[in-house]
């Protein structure tokens, strides 16, 4: 592992983002550049995996190894990478549809397995890339291209979901407070285990009025300002209930005693010396060696 002094510019690729002007994802990208320069891992030591969506374009705009993969499948793909190359810093990003609709089934299991991954969801409560359909985080009643008379469904609460799945790090941020977001993302990356950041990233083209940057600026409240204790999961759960009503930013929960990660446990098992004889015995049985 190389730790060198790197600035935000070192993580900026040649590609010019093709997001709509004003899209919240620009701010997320800026925050990410800052966070990565704080971490100090060289770009070639980072694998950045995303699904499909406007937000999932983000790896291409960094100098990390980018994987723009399959709609909804970024988490399993990231786990494959982490198992193959545990030394890499693996980041995962995508939209709310990618993460909580088509990919929703994978989240619980990525959390449960506790790989050292950082999962950034750019939650704009709408499908951006496919031009404005209902998202799993769209509020009840929202009129979209596929719910022209208002959605009949209640939204997913990403914060409460991931907390109850048992994640060791759960936070929320908004590009309306870019330095704050950068700090949260950096903390998430530093957490040894599965870390989730829900980023309220406005879609200026298809998103709702109340979901825009200036509303965020006016309404956001840091968790520190309400006296929240990051190690209190139940308090975090209680605050998470306000998803969609209040915009809290900061760390909802950080496990003060992070359990070993999946890849560490795998490594441990691979190197456990005591198990050799048992292994031989299994081989004997299955290979039916002549006695």
């Amino acid at each position: 592992m190389t730790t060198v002094a790197l600035g935000p510019k070192d993580f900026k690729s040649e590609l010019k983002p093709i997001w709509c002007p004003g899209c919240g994802d620009f701010g997320v990208l800026q925050a990410l550049y800052r966070a990565l320069s704080g971490i100090g891992r060289a770009p070639h030591e980072i694998a950045f995996v995303s699904g499909i969506g406007c937000s999932s374009r983000i790896p291409g705009y960094t100098t990390a190894y980018g994987f723009n993969t399959v709609h909804g499948r970024a988490l399993p793909i990231a786990q494959g990478i982490k198992l193959a190359r545990p030394e890499l810093l693996v980041l995962v990003a995508g939209g709310d549809g990618d993460g909580f609709s088509i990919g929703g089934g994978h989240v619980a299991h990525a959390v449960r397995r506790n790989f050292d991954l950082t999962y950034l969801v750019m939650d704009n409560q709408i499908y951006g890339l496919t031009k404005g359909q209902l998202s799993p985080t769209s509020p009840h009643g929202l009129e979209t291209a596929t719910s022209p008379y208002g959605s009949l469904e209640d939204p997913v609460n990403p914060l409460a979901y991931v907390l109850s799945y048992g994640a060791g790090f759960v936070a929320q941020g908004t590009p309306a407070d870019m330095p704050g977001l950068a700090k949260i993302v950096e903390e998430a990356i530093r957490y040894p285990g599965f870390a989730f950041v829900n980023i309220q990233s406005p879609c200026v083209t298809y998103g709702q009025e109340v979901q825009q940057m200036k509303v965020h600026k006016a309404t956001m409240k840091t968790l520190a300002s309400v006296g929240h204790d990051q190690t209190d999961r139940i308090a975090a759960m209680r605050l998470a209930q306000d998803y969609g009503k209040a915009l809290y930013t900061g760390v909802f929960y950080r496990n003060p005693e992070p359990p070993p990660t999946f890849e560490a446990l795998v490594r441990e098992r691979q190197t456990a010396q005591g198990e050799r004889p048992a292994r031989e015995k299994i081989l004997d049985r299955y290979l039916q060696r002549a006695t």
Binding site: H71, I102, K131, A145, T146
Partner: protein, 488 residues
């Protein structure tokens, strides 16, 4: 001391034993050891039982992961060799119970058997032709066929069809549901179709891939439903431009198992409407899903569309799980645990496929009577091919067009008739795929026992469509376009 065996002792069926030795560890009386000899049928060493100390605890039977490795002896003292290998016809044992068709025993009912309630054709007032884009025309066709339930997941370039449905269905007593994924969407169709109602989805290639599992189940359970696949460029995410590289998947790869479905290939907005209507008729006639193979260009292209003279009010098939007393005995499933039952079911499906192959081939032929060059093309490339035929005729080449409207079954009867009349004609397959249409043609020729004519290829991929000019040039030069390295 007299001993009472409360439970039968185990009998080994060596041909089912995989030699895992779990029973050896399980037996508290050390009655089981590994034998020295390989079993001739399985190629593994089965265990041997020495039952002198056996108390019939059956822990070995519980430990055995094979359903029939160790079974309870029939009568005290019966030997392993005396135990009969279970087959579907006898000794159902506890595993047979999982088969839903037998789960509750033979079903009896004093109720009258449900009957097919036929659909009704209602006259439509004559209207002026409409100007519609392809996906809208297909949605309209479905509505006219009586479809009121649409399930989908957004994907370009198919989404507008679903969006239109979301707008109109609530006014027609129906509903559109945006599923969490294509996997969920196709399974919602499974449910809705099981209730006997016409339903549909709009998707595009990556989403179609995800639906294959559900389509296989629907074919197995014999359920109707219409899947509109507006093909885009692949493989993987590819792009959103038109391609035809799902032909292989739709004609040969509808999920696992012995599956086929009629594949309709429109080439105009009018046909998007007509074939979408027809798809529902065929799906219910054959109790099988029907796939509409459109391409990204057709989905977006607007054109003049005339409405038919009638619309359909759907009936209710006798097999539907409708939830009234008459339909009480109906069961929809694709599970057949007994091998002989499943073989019979496959024979039944094969008969259906044969029937479809005989009756449902469709093609448009144009200027083929005197043709020396036969262009074969479908979907949007067929429009370019039509233009090329005109240009070639002007240049003095007698060209004609065969446009398959059903890709499965391939319209080989039409092809045979033309090739019999024009035995020296050469064929040029024009497609936006690496030869998948040509493969269908070659396979159909081969099955029909016809010697293949000389076949030339004009293929573009990745969202690039074959252009009229390049088709003409290829025909005149007698040279393939981009056929090298293909799979043909």
């Amino acid at each position: 001391m007299a001993r009472l065996d409360l439970r039968p002792r185990p009998a080994l069926q060596p041909e089912y034993c995989k030699g895992c030795l779990r029973c050896v560890d399980a037996c508290p009386k050390d009655c089981i050891t590994q034998a020295g000899d390989l079993n001739a049928t399985t190629g593994v060493r089965p265990v041997v039982l020495h039952l002198d100390d056996c108390n019939g605890c059956q822990l070995c039977i519980q430990a055995c992961p094979e359903p029939y490795g160790l079974v309870p002896q029939k009568a005290p003292g019966e030997t392993a060799s005396g135990a009969k290998a279970p087959t579907a016809a006898h000794d159902p044992g506890e595993f047979e119970l999982e088969d839903p068709t037998h789960l509750f025993g033979a079903k009896t009912s004093t109720l009258p058997a449900p009957v097919d309630l036929p659909g009704l054709a209602l006259a439509l007032p004559t209207t002026e032709p409409l100007m519609l884009k392809g996906t809208y025309a297909a949605a309209l066709g479905a509505l006219l066929a009586g479809c009121r339930h649409v399930f989908g997941y957004p994907i370009t370039p198919s989404t507008e069809g679903a969006e239109l449905m979301a707008k109109v269905l609530p006014h027609l007593g129906g509903s559109f549901v945006q599923a969490v994924s294509e996997v969920a969407a196709i399974n919602m169709m499974y449910g809705c179709a099981g209730a006997g109602l016409p339903c549909m989805t709009f998707t595009s290639s990556p989403g179609f891939s995800l639906m294959l599992e559900g389509i296989s189940y629907m074919i197995g359970a014999e359920l109707p439903g219409v899947v509109m696949n507006v093909m885009r460029g692949g493989p993987g995410l590819g792009n959103i431009a038109p391609e035809q590289a799902d032909i292989k998947l739709m004609t040969r790869g509808l999920g696992h198992g012995n599956t086929h479905a009629i594949v309709l290939a429109p080439s105009t907005p009018q046909e998007m409407l007509d074939l979408s209507r027809l798809a529902f008729e065929l799906a219910f006639a054959y109790r099988n899903p029907v796939i509409i193979a459109a391409d990204g260009y057709l989905g977006q292209m607007a054109g003049v569309v005339r409405l038919p003279a009638t619309l359909t009010r759907p009936g209710l098939p006798a097999w539907a799980v409708w939830g009234d007393r008459a339909h009480r005995m109906n069961l929809v499933c694709s599970i057949q645990l007994s091998d002989t039952d499943l073989e019979a079911h496959n024979h039944h499906l094969n008969d259906k496929y044969a029937d479809i192959t005989k009756k449902e081939q469709r093609a448009e032929t144009w200027l083929c009577d005197d043709a020396e060059v036969l262009l074969v093309a479908c979907n949007t490339p067929a429009r370019m091919a039509k233009g090329a035929v005109m240009d070639l005729r002007e240049a003095g080449v007698a060209a004609g067009l065969v446009r398959p409207i059903t890709l499965w079954p391939f319209p080989i009867d039409e092809m045979r008739a033309i090739l019999t009349k024009r035995p020296r004609a050469r064929v040029v397959v024009v497609e936006a795929s690496p030869g998948q249409l040509e493969d269908e043609l070659r396979l159909a020729l081969s099955h029909a026992g016809l010697a293949p004519p000389p076949i030339q290829s004009v293929r573009r991929m990745g969202g690039v469509l074959p252009q009229r000019g390049e088709i003409v040039a290829a025909v005149l030069a007698g040279q393939d376009v981009a056929a090298s390295g293909g799979v043909a």
